[in-house]
């Protein structure tokens, strides 16, 4: 991405990216722990969701493509540990903007959960 495009992305407020799709949200959360390649992201999401969310290649890389374009993640030029890993792998890292968008989405979801919990129906179902 060129400098002009990058500065355009920086000008956008994190809220403009919301709401995130489930795949994008899971990828951002997975990258929240540090840089990772595609397979590691997929495994992270699978473990984190208890095996309920499996990102297939098309969905994963489609979302990665959109995130790269939006400047929410960046591709690492260097490998974290070239001796331990295949150098042909591409690693991705959460950008500052990506972190802000993730935080905004978590805040939005928290508000939704809080509102849902405040409804009578949910309060009735609460264990005593």
């Amino acid at each position: 991405m060129g400098k002009r495009a990058a500065s355009k992305v920086e000008q956008k407020a994190p809220e403009e990216f919301l709401p995130l799709t489930p795949a994008v949200f899971h990828i951002l959360v997975a990258l929240g722990d540090g840089e990772a390649h595609g397979y590691a992201i997929m495994q992270n999401v699978l473990t984190r969701t208890g095996g309920t969310v499996r990102l297939s290649a098309g969905t994963l890389y489609g979302a990665v493509s959109r995130l790269l374009e939006g400047g929410l993640i960046t591709e690492l030029e260097e490998r974290p540990d070239p001796e331990m890993d295949d150098t042909r792998r591409r690693y991705y890292r959460l950008s500052d903007m990506g972190g802000r968008v993730l935080a905004a989405e978590i805040h939005r979801l928290s508000d939704l959960i809080r509102a849902a919990r405040a409804t009578k129906a949910v309060q009735k179902m609460r264990p005593a």
Partner: protein, 161 residues
Amino acid sequence: MRGEFLYGALLYLYPKPFRTRFGEEMIRLFRECYPDSRVGRYWLDSLRDFFVSAPREWRREICRPDRAIDYTGLADAIMCFIVVGTLLVGWGMAGASFAINIGVISSDSIFWRQAAASLFMALTLFIGAIVGVLSTWAATRSGRIDTTCSRLITSGRITAR
């Protein structure tokens, strides 16, 4: 691995820029996740993912604001469509006439003769339309290569000679 080869072939149905950028990684991911058992289920999931993600990538590619249209190529494609379409219609009419004369359609009823002729015509028009749409689409995308290359050069991903 044969599965990997088939999946690689399937990736050709994604837009070229997407395939060029992520194709290798997608094949790698497919290989790494390939199970020892329940292969059918894995393929079913992969195909389902393909049928959802490929149209989405095409839509993104077509709606891209920096999309370039090669108008010369577009004119060529339209000309090609007219020529191919005319030939196909002629071929269809000949085919319909031949089918009726050799008795493929045995009934003497005028209704069946007309139905057979209409079917051949519709079929050839349909094929002609597909050829036309594909060639027109291919031509409108042909200017895209330069755009992608220039963007990669400006971003420093590849070096201009």
